[in-house]
């Protein structure tokens, strides 16, 4: 058996899994350090959920190796289950039970952890603890799911798209809870297709596509690795006076140009040289500028640069 780095909470080597004719995970390698919040970012169908469920011991891989907290599923499943907190992507907890009954049920499975009421207080559902699960809002349901994941005082938290489907306001509460858990020095593996979530919560991010990791690093590193930290977005010209994109490519500091819904997106290294150059070029072509925006590159831009597609396409 190969030596396992003592501080890695999760080690995945050459993981493969296919369903019928779809290859879900295609030779994946990952290492998550103890105490870090690691994000798996990718579009739907990238293999995030399959990967996480293999790590959670819910799905059997075709081949490859998974070591969680120094333990393997085939030899230490019972021990591992006690130490993991798991939130699945779209579990519907029983609607006829109350919040308290649900958390208490999950608490009964674990040897350690706070009492059900304390955990309910932690996710700020005290006022709802005698309400039926069916009467909760989407955000409250997600927090309840989080309570069920936290109830065993886990060393390692797996969260599969913890805020998908929530409105921006409702996403903040889970984020705060995840940050609080992170502060206690324990490990989190999180999947998401929201780049802002990954940027805010994750120490490191692996971008997945077609069952493989196509980029790995801190959010900052990944953004920097595309060599362009700024995005320039503008709309110019019309059917009668078309824009000459080729001329724009010659502007210094421009890494990439693409068009999207009639707007032009340019990745540039430095705004202060590229913006005047762009304006000068538009003047030279005699094309009127209708809109101009700039923003810092995000993980979304990284993904688009790497794959040519958006995270939430389809």
């Amino acid at each position: 058996m190969p030596e396992i780095a003592s501080q890695s909470a999760l080690l995945v080597r050459e993981l493969r899994k296919s369903y019928k004719d779809v290859i879900a995970v295609d030779g994946l390698n990952l290492e998550v350090q103890a105490g870090e919040c690691f994000g798996l970012l990718g579009p739907n169908g990238a293999g995030k959920t399959t990967t996480v469920e293999i790590c959670e011991g819910l799905t059997e891989p075709d081949s490859g190796e998974v070591v969680v907290l120094g333990l393997r599923w085939n030899s230490s499943a019972a021990q591992l289950r006690q130490r993991l907190g798991i939130q699945l992507q779209d579990t519907q907890l029983s609607e006829k039970l109350t919040v308290y009954e649900t958390v208490r049920l999950f608490r009964s499975f674990f040897r350690q952890g706070e009492g059900a009421s304390a955990v309910i207080a932690r996710v700020q559902l005290e006022e709802k603890q005698n309400s039926r699960v069916g009467d909760l809002s989407g955000g409250q349901k997600q927090r309840l799911a989080l309570a069920c994941a936290l109830v065993g005082d886990p060393d390692f938290l797996f969260l599969d798209e913890p805020t998908t489907g929530l409105d921006p306001q409702a996403r903040r509460q889970p984020w705060e809870l995840i940050e609080e858990f992170k502060k206690s020095g324990r490990t989190i593996l999180l999947t998401t297709h929201y780049m802002d979530e990954a940027e805010r919560l994750c120490d490191r991010v692996a971008i997945m596509d077609h069952g493989k990791v196509i980029a790995l690093g801190t959010p900052r590193e990944l953004i920097a690795s595309t060599c362009a930290e700024q995005m320039l977005e503008f709309t110019a010209g019309s059917a009668s006076c078309a824009l000459d994109l080729q001329a724009l490519r010659r502007i210094e500091g421009v890494r990439e140009i693409r068009t999207e819904n009639g707007a032009v997106l340019m990745q540039v290294t430095q705004l202060h040289t590229s913006v005047p150059a762009l304006l000068a070029e538009l003047t030279r072509q005699n094309v009127p500028l209708t809109e101009l925006r700039t923003h810092s590159a995000t993980l979304e831009d990284v993904f688009v640069t790497l794959t040519g597609r958006h995270l939430r396409d389809e």
């Binding site: 699945l88 009964s108 207080a121």
Partner: protein
């Protein structure tokens, strides 16, 4: 963190921050069973099907098959003489009809027999010999006519009527319904709950926790016990109070029998729900399995009515064994030793179904 006191239930103070769950109420099997029980009683439809339905059915059938005074057979005669002779018999209600009207009445079942004069002073009886009423009417009518013509019976006889509780149709029916209800409620409540949990991925979520899997399946069986007391009590109590259906065997034996039957049917339900991903698939399978038993296991009429060649199969059906055992206990006062063969069959199904369900159960 806030003070964790719960007004309702009042069970949180002790368990607050306890490092180890050690009270009995915190045992996963107890929690799983309680949760199953809550889920069930919070479903009004399920309550109706389990409790109200069998009572309505028993009441309806009880009224339809209530004990009436000895039945009077309606017959018809063609001539006034015959009518006169036949009216001597009190168990016959005779009307005089002409030949055509009489045949019409016979054909439509309004009368069981038509008496008409034959050639040379003979009497002709027209009746359906496959109909018990027809045969009974034939015997009564012939005796009445022979006696009216002056026959003297060589042996004097007297009749003594024995009408015993426990041999009426309602006595036969209540144990049958009890068995049917034990089967239906176990299979339906368990099957649907389980497929629903699988469909909503709740099953997968539970399996992702350290929950012992056998406890989950066991909790379904145990939660049945809690409901069983009410279920059996209501039906047996209803039969006893309204129709004086006897319970001649020991109540303890009856309780043990119902418990075993319910566990066995729950295991069968578990097996039927062990793979299905949709409610439709599961309910199709459940009906497929239950339908032959509703018909053949003797709920409404004796399973002896089926051909001999089928009897060994029918005897091995779990519902047949349950109903036979229930009838033996309630009506004949049999103890557990006397119904050992049935208990054996029920236990066989329990073990086989539970073991098989555990093996092939789809946890996600």
């Amino acid at each position: 963190m806030s003070e964790n006191t719960i007004s309702e239930g009042g069970m949180s103070v002790a368990e607050k921050n306890s490092p180890r769950a050690n009270s009995l109420a915190d045992h996963p099997l107890v929690q799983l069973t309680l949760v199953r029980f809550y889920e069930f009683i919070r479903e009004p439809e399920a309550l109706f099907w389990v409790f109200a339905f069998p009572i309505l059915l028993a009441a309806g059938l009880g009224i339809a098959f209530r004990n009436r005074p000895p039945e009077v057979l309606r017959i018809a005669a063609v001539t006034p003489e015959l009518t006169q002779s036949l009216r001597q018999e009190k168990l016959l209600e005779v009307q005089q009809l002409d030949s055509a009207a009489g045949q019409e009445a016979l054909r439509t079942g309004k009368v069981a027999l038509l008496a008409a004069p034959g050639a040379n002073g003979t009497v002709e009886y027209r009746f359906d010999d496959t109909n018990p009423e027809g045969r009974a009417a034939r015997l009564l009518a012939d005796a009445a006519i022979q006696r009216a013509a002056g026959r003297i019976d060589p042996v004097a006889t007297t009749d003594k009527f024995v009408r015993e509780l426990g041999s009426r149709y309602i006595d036969f029916l209540i144990p049958g319904l009890l068995g049917m209800n034990l089967m239906g409620s176990a299979i339906w409540s368990l099957g649907f709950a389980m497929v629903d949990a699988r469909r909503k991925k709740l099953l997968k979520r539970l399996v992702a926790s350290p929950m012992p899997r056998a406890y989950y399946l066991l909790s379904f069986l145990l939660s049945r016990i809690l409901l069983l007391v009410v279920e059996v009590g209501v039906l047996v109590g209803f039969g006893a109070a309204l129709f004086h259906v006897p319970v001649r065997g020991s109540l303890l034996d009856l309780a043990a029998l119902c418990l075993l039957a319910s566990l066995s049917f729950s295991a069968l339900g578990l097996l039927l729900a062990s793979r299905a991903r949709t409610i439709e698939a599961a309910s199709g399978l459940m009906n497929l399995v239950m339908m032959p038993m509703w018909i053949a296991s003797g709920v409404f009429f004796s399973s002896q009515k089926f051909p001999d060649i089928m009897q060994p199969f029918i005897k091995w059906l779990p519902l047949t064994a349950v109903i036979d055992a229930l009838r033996a206990n309630m009506l004949q006062g049999a103890n557990l030793t006397q119904i050992a063969p049935q208990v054996g069959i029920i236990s066989f199904w329990l073990v086989i179904c539970f073991a098989l369900a555990l093996k092939i159960f789809r946890w996600r």
